[in-house]
């Protein structure tokens, strides 16, 4: 009885030891030499695997950084500058300071501003509605409000406001990974500079129709009148296809264009309230 156990233990342990020795030598022979810096970089990265950097996950991003040994065009939007500063010494580079970005919704066609003309009754998917028809408010460029951007966001930073039917970006949570920009079939969402104290000015409309046409569907659509272009001293505003666009690199946040816009389609966010006259009251209400 005792010998049986003894034999079994000896046989099994010798098989185990033998296999271990074979495996050890095989492992030595076929060893994959991996740059230890990849692990070091991956360690620093947030690990959200959002794909906002343009690579398939954080590990892939780390591999590419180490392979190229440069931080050029390599930016983790989630970690931002802090992460860049941590990565830079690992690969022996100097981190380039990047302005923080944020997603903005360039449509203000809320239930009040662009009243619904039809009632949609079907699958809740912007992609589907976009292929089907222009949407409840008949504007072929407007936000559809079915929340494809909400589904795409991995950081829970965007939600649909029940009152307006428009998506709202949570400034604290948004990391500007750009997933929502890709998900939006109408290209309503844009990544813009976050600005000082998160102050931003942008044209909240992407409608390229002529003014007379777009105004039928929406009270706050950009009509391409060009008043803002004349007012802007920094040549930050351009008009193309009846639509104004503010270049955030040139914009100095002076707010003069907001005051002259007859359609109140230029929005200002996070600015203190104006002291003198009441302009674009709707916009201020919108922010609250």
């Amino acid at each position: 009885m005792n010998t049986t156990i003894l034999y079994a233990v000896i046989t099994l342990s010798s098989i185990g030891i033998l296999s271990a020795i074979i495996l050890f030598f095989i492992a030595q022979k076929f060893k994959v030499i991996e740059d230890p810096r990849i692990d070091a970089v991956a360690e620093v990265l947030p690990g959200a695997n959002c794909g906002g950097c343009g690579f398939a996950g954080c590990r892939n991003f780390a591999e590419n950084i180490v392979k190229n040994e440069s931080l050029e065009n390599m930016f983790c939007p989630v970690g931002g500058n802090d992460v860049s500063k941590l990565i830079a010494p690992i690969i022996g580079q100097v981190a380039e300071e990047k302005e923080p970005m944020i997603a903005v919704i360039r449509c203000n066609g809320s239930f009040a501003n662009a009243p619904a003309k039809t009632q949609y009754d079907g699958v809740k998917s912007c992609f589907f509605i976009h292929n089907l028809y222009p949407g409840d408010n008949s504007c072929p460029y407007s936000c559809l409000g079915a929340g494809d951007c909400v589904v795409s966001c991995k950081f829970d930073a965007i939600y649909i406001d029940e009152k307006t039917g428009l998506p709202v970006v949570d400034e604290e949570k948004c990391v500007a990974c750009g997933a929502c920009v890709k998900a939006c079939p109408r290209k309503v969402i844009e990544l813009r500079k976050k600005g000082k104290k998160s102050r931003r000015i942008f044209v909240s409309c992407v409608n390229k129709e002529k003014g007379a046409v777009s105004r039928k569907n929406c009270n706050v659509s950009c009509i391409g009148c060009g008043k803002c272009v004349k007012e802007c001293k920094f040549e930050a505003i351009t008009i193309e296809n009846n639509l104004a666009y503010i270049d955030f690199e040139k914009c100095t946040l002076c707010r003069k264009c907001v005051a002259v816009c007859p359609q109140a389609s230029i929005l200002e966010l996070n600015f203190p309230e104006r002291k003198t006259k009441e302009t674009s009251t709707e916009v201020v209400e919108e922010q609250k």
Partner: protein, 442 residues
């Protein structure tokens, strides 16, 4: 009696206007003719603002292989060429003509007699059809001449004329067969000559007994034309289903009917071919059924292309008060429109006004895997599975499940006891897979 084997449903016929004769509607004050009236590349306008046009004059020319011409449906002055709302709800380029009188081109034969003799040769017929801008009038609006050009290495064996009209409510094809049977037979003979076959079948469902009787009588005198009565089943009017029902041949997945030697044309198209070849009249008018349960006077109207649909609705007694939805087409495959400020196009087979209680969707509940949708799918797909793949954004699997074979007949959504939006999801998948296939081709 013949029918296709796989799947199919039996929606209630509701053919309210089947005994109403086709009535020509008056001319509109202005005609707005959309440039997007067929599949393929949109044609280029050949008239400018201020030009005088006559009825039947070419106003837009299709230059691509899959593209079709558009002719003036009214006489008058071109007042503008601009983007106007069309059935999809988006703005598309249209030619607007202010109507002055009703002056037809001299070349068009306006005499009512029926020309039986076919003088033109095969190639001349196809050229004439191309010139006349004829498209499939069953609703798909595929340019007819492309279907008639048999690709090299293939051989057409028979022509199938689609008089099934399986879509509930619609009756325009039924009325055409009853009222214009003789012209239809000549049209069929022209099409037979164009593709070089000596056999033609006219498939008609047996809920149109009068049409079957009448056309059988006419077909007796014409060698090679047979009327085939079919058992009522939706979607028998689908090309592949009709071929299966009549010839018992199956078109392989992703292939065209010519693969099994068949060419399918709608009865409305056959009439248009007759008019183009024998009477020199391009396609500028069509029969539209205006119907609905609470519509005062459901009717079949012969309308010029570009007539505002409000005129047609007025003719049928206006929009009933309880209407919640106006559908362009039939209830199964049609699409509800978001404004009635649109105009008649070549592909508009009917206008259906749905009362409130029928137009709202039932709230969907969970899929119970009853497999009803799999049983009834005429293409043998698994609608519940594809729908699920759409929800999980698994387009690659949807493609493997042959989502592109779906013809969007809507039988799955119709039959689902849980009222799940199966067709909606399949459409999403079709759109996404289509995009993937196109980028792969590049």
């Amino acid at each position: 009696m013949k029918t296709f084997k796989l799947g199919g449903v039996h929606p209630k016929g509701n053919k309210l206007s089947s005994d109403k004769a086709i009535k020509a509607i008056g001319l509109p004050k202005t005609a707005t003719i959309s440039l997007i009236q067929s599949l393929g590349a949109p044609p280029e306008p050949v008239v400018a603002k201020g030009d005088k046009v006559k009825v039947g004059q070419l106003i837009a020319k299709g230059n691509a292989f899959i593209s079709s011409n558009i002719h003036a449906s009214v006489s008058g002055t071109v007042s503008k060429i601009e983007d106007t709302l069309e059935a999809s709800g988006y703005r598309k380029k249209c030619i607007v003509i202010d109507v002055e009188g009703d002056e037809w081109l001299e070349t068009i034969d306006k005499k009512p007699n029926i020309k039986l003799e076919i003088q033109l040769k095969k190639e001349e017929i196809i050229a004439k059809i191309k010139e006349a801008g004829i498209v499939g009038l069953g609703g798909a609006t595929f340019p007819t001449q492309v279907k008639l050009m048999i690709p090299e290495g293939k051989k057409a064996e028979c022509l199938i004329i689609n008089g099934v009209e399986c879509e509930p409510y619609l009756t325009s094809d039924h009325r055409i067969m009853l009222e214009r049977g003789e012209e239809l037979i000549v049209g069929v003979r022209i099409l037979m000559k164009a593709i070089g076959v000596d056999k033609a079948f006219i498939g008609i469902e047996n809920n149109k007994a009068d049409a079957i009787k009448y056309l059988s009588k006419l077909a007796k005198n014409n060698l090679g034309i047979t009327v085939v009565p079919l058992k009522v089943k939706y979607p028998q009017g689908g090309e592949k289903q009709l071929i299966k029902a009549i010839t018992n041949r199956e078109v392989p997945s992703g292939k065209l009917p010519i693969e099994v030697g068949c060419v399918v044309q709608n009865v409305g198209t056959a009439i248009a071919v007759y008019e183009a070849v024998q009477k020199n009249k391009p396609l500028f008018e069509r029969v539209v059924t205006v119907t609905g349960k609470s519509v005062k006077n459901p009717c079949n109207l012969l309308a010029r292309i570009g007539t505002p649909i409000s005129m047609l609705i007025e003719e049928a007694g206006g929009i009933p008060e309880d209407t919640q939805k106006v559908i362009n087409g039939g209830p199964m495959m049609g699409k509800s429109i978001n404004s009635i400020d649109i105009y008649v196009v070549k592909g508009m087979s009917g206008l259906l006004m749905m009362p409130e209680k029928e137009s709202k969707r039932v709230t969907p509940s969970n899929c119970i895997r009853c497999a009803q949708c799999t049983f009834i799918c005429p293409m043998g797909l698994n609608p519940y599975l594809i729908s699920q793949m759409t929800e999980t954004q698994n387009e690659a699997m949807a493609e493997k499940e042959r989502v592109m074979d779906c013809m969007e007949c809507g039988s799955c959504s119709y039959t689902c006891p849980a009222a799940r939006p199966l067709l909606d999801n399949i459409r999403v998948a079709k759109n996404k897979v289509g995009q993937i296939i196109r980028t792969r081709a590049k």
